[in-house]
């Protein structure tokens, strides 16, 4: 049965998560202005909230399925502007960990799974074009020798290790790209800088340099050293799977910022006596009410596409196109809705007295990483047109 209802039990969890997020807002401005300051292990307010794993443990298996519920949690958490009251990033929780789980051998997962692992793909000259990766890995005896520059490494500072994409054979294109686990402190692996960003400032972003950086031969994830010559090798597809799984997640972050911005605008204007009258027809509405309705419709529409893509994953059904649909919509509303919310709130929306401007700055990244809106549209277009990536690029 088509159903959009959230059970009381689940709503309670979501309310808790949102409350914890809001409790962290008192620290938000400080970490905006001190962006490279590490977050403490826990803030005093953390004690007031039951940890999420405990809340989740009580969920019924008959309720909204887990991946879908993760999206609801993301909406609840990320539509607040709070810094995490507990250091959210623990062993196993980095983007590199997802890659390890997808592409690593059982032994590799056991060995490194407990660390915080970052994922290092992007290079100064490449962006979304993973085929163009220039970093190289050369086998020298029982060691891989890595060379190259990497940028935009999320949690690149805090991570204990990093999964690095490099090519073992440039002539092979995508099939030559392999991923390697490199531990912090390895000789020849340098953190060049920590980036200063428009938003998501409590998430650290690093640039790396690898200069004759040597790692053991068994640090190749999956241990498959072969370079197939056909298109779309299993190895590469293995790596790409991590994208497919993360698109709804990233989209949920963008949607959350849109939901947060429209919620902020709605509440702030209500205090000034301006409220949506849902019963009123178009001609009976004010311009502000109509703008709020449109923003709410846009944010909700995007949220439904995210839930849909996640639900398909829950059902074990293909969700490649739907993941790109939701990523495209999330990328759209993370830009337009906070922008409009500020327009509606006027000059005071830019003041640091309030956090609404943070939705715009933090949300903006959602249309960039894990594939820009343009990349998502390419994926969708190829799918509906039946074109390969060579036929439509």
């Amino acid at each position: 049965m088509i159903d959009f209802r959230i059970s009381e039990a689940d709503q309670h969890i979501l309310d808790q998560v949102a409350a914890e997020g809001r409790a962290g807002e008192k620290y938000a401005r400080h970490f905006e202005e001190h962006e490279h300051e590490p977050l403490p292990e826990a803030f005093p307010e953390a004690a007031e909230f039951e940890p999420l794993p405990r809340l989740l443990a009580r969920r019924s298996k008959e309720d909204t399925p887990p991946a879908t519920f993760q999206m609801l949690l993301s909406f609840a958490r990320q539509s607040t502007n709070g810094v995490p009251l507990r250091n959210a990033l623990r062993g196993g929780g980095g983007l590199g960990n997802a890659a390890l789980r997808a592409a690593g051998t059982k032994e590799q997962i056991e060995k490194w799974g407990g660390l915080i692992l970052a994922m290092s793909i992007t290079e100064p000259g490449a962006g979304s074009d993973t085929k163009a990766i220039q970093s190289t890995a050369r086998l020298d005896g029982e060691e891989w020798v890595l060379n190259g520059d990497k940028i935009f490494v999320t949690t690149g500072i805090r991570a204990q290790g990093v999964v690095v994409w490099a090519t073992v054979d440039k002539s092979a294109g995508r099939a030559g790209i392999k991923s390697f686990l490199v531990m912090k402190g390895t000789q020849g692996f340098e953190i060049v800088r920590q980036e200063k960003k428009l938003g998501i400032r409590t998430s650290d972003t690093a640039a790396y340099a690898f200069r004759d950086c040597r790692v053991p031969r068994e640090n190749l994830l999956g241990l498959d050293e072969s370079v197939p010559r056909e298109k779309g090798s299993a190895s590469y597809r293995g790596v790409m799977k991590t994208f497919n799984m993360t698109r709804p997640g990233v989209a949920s972050g963008g949607v959350a910022k849109a939901l947060g911005a429209v919620g902020f605008a709605r509440d702030a204007l209500a205090e000034d006596g301006i409220k949506v009258d849902w019963q009123a027809g178009f001609h009976q509405r004010s311009a502000t009410q109509q703008a709020l309705i449109e923003m709410e419709a846009d944010a909700e529409a995007a949220s439904l596409t995210v839930l849909h893509a996640a639900w398909l994953a829950d059902m074990g059904r293909p969700n490649n196109v739907e993941s790109s649909v939701c990523k495209a919509k999330g990328g759209e509303v993370c830009r337009t809705v906070p922008q409009r919310a500020m327009e509606l709130l006027g000059a005071m929306s830019v003041s640091h007295d309030h956090l609404v401007e943070k939705y715009l700055r933090d949300g903006r990244i959602s249309d960039i990483y894990e594939g820009t809106g343009q990349i998502q549209r390419l994926i969708i277009a190829r799918s509906i047109l039946g074109y390969s990536s060579e036929e439509l690029s």
């Binding site: 049965m1 209802r5 008959e62 390419l378 277009a381």
Partner: protein, 364 residues
């Protein structure tokens, strides 16, 4: 719990109507639009689907199915994708029947529902729209006055589907505050019926103007008796139904444009290989999916008996802003060919603009 799973009956209905839309409606849509009229045999064929009688209880001669705006949305997306005019025509009597099912007294149900349970089409329809451009259901000008045990209705109703043949109309009017619906027989004294001059979209759907000049009605004409109706629910149901038709047209436009873009060669390659066109198609696909989800959310809330006003306002707003763009971009992909009436693109644009400005000629 959140679920996007159609139940078995809904999947069956979707699949069978998809076939009916593809094989019966789509092939005739262009010709019917050009002719500006729907042949009686096609109306009869539509009636035979039993969609109007589907949810009439067995005691009144119907099939006794469950009333479900959600299932209705699934049906209307398919029918609308086949031919919005025929979809609206086939479902027109539902705009009378369904409010009766939802709000009618036992007596009203007994008196009117059996009319629609027979094998031949029987027409009755909702009279909502009025002449003023600033119209809104919250700005009704048709007045209902109490007179003794009965009512007196005055006002003008426009664009009433099948006004030429409907046996009864369900006229929305207000006594000042609440909105009421009144069952008005076509031969009521003071009721004048004139055919409308025509409409940009849904051209083949016959519509009429009803002039109510102090039409006197008995007390039993008020739908729901002393309880009246839940006007918000009635309007929400209509709006969701219209939006579902718009989604159906959008989907059809997108599906029609995809093979054309792959075949049409310009500047040495299929236009689908140009990002401008490929991204336009991607956006059309994105919005079809997204609009559908918005419609589903509102429709499922109506099924659950919840106050679906917020979800309906959002779905209607979203579909209004996006469906016309999808149809219009579809036309653009065809260039000059889209502007010519040999192809259905321009019809889909007219029909989309029309169903998204109506509060719903067809509602389930």
């Amino acid at each position: 719990m959140i679920s996007f799973q159609l139940d078995e009956e809904q999947e069956l209905i979707r699949d069978s109507l998809e076939g009916f839309a593809r094989e019966v409606l789509r092939p005739q849509a262009r010709a019917i639009d050009e002719a500006g009229a729907i042949p009686d045999e096609i109306l009869a064929q539509g009636w035979e689907l039993g969609l109007v009688a589907a949810t009439i209880p067995e005691e009144y001669g119907g099939s006794g199915g469950t009333r479900s705006p959600m299932t209705g949305a699934i049906m209307l997306e398919q029918l609308g994708g086949g031919c919005a005019s025929l979809a609206s025509a086939v479902m027109a009597s539902s705009t009378f029947v369904n409010p009766l099912l939802d709000f009618g007294t036992d007596e009203q149900k007994r008196d009117y529902l059996p009319l629609f349970a027979g094998p031949e089409p029987h027409y009755a329809s909702l009279a909502l729209q009025e002449s003023q451009f600033g119209f809104g259901a919250d700005r009704l000008r048709t007045k209902a006055e109490r007179r003794g045990n009965g009512w007196v209705l005055s006002g003008t109703k426009r664009l009433v589907p099948f006004g030429d043949r409907a046996s009864h109309f369900l006229v929305l009017a207000t006594g000042g505050e609440a909105i009421d619906a009144f069952i008005v027989p076509r031969d009521a004294k003071g009721l004048a019926i004139e055919p409308e001059a025509g409409t940009m979209g849904l051209k083949p759907l016959p519509t009429a103007k009803l002039s109510l000049d102090r039409v006197e009605l008995p007390g039993g004409a008020r739908l729901g008796g002393d309880n009246g109706i839940d006007a918000a629910r009635l309007l929400n149901t209509l709006r969701v139904a219209s939006a579902a038709i718009a989604v159906g047209i959008s989907r059809t436009v997108t599906d029609f444009a995809i093979p054309y873009a792959k075949e049409r060669v310009a500047f040495g390659e299929p236009i689908a290989k140009k990002q401008a066109i490929a991204f336009m198609l991607a956006d059309m696909h994105i919005e079809c999916d997204t609009m559908r989800l918005m419609v589903w959310k509102a429709a499922s809330q109506l099924d659950q008996g919840a106050d679906a006003t917020r979800a309906t306002v959002l779905a209607q707003d979203y579909v209004r802003r996006h469906a016309v763009k999808v149809a219009d971009d579809g036309l653009q992909i065809f260039g000059g060919h889209g502007f010519i009436r040999d192809l259905p693109l321009e019809m889909w644009l007219r029909n989309t603009r029309t169903v998204t400005v109506l509060d719903g000629p067809a509602a389930v």
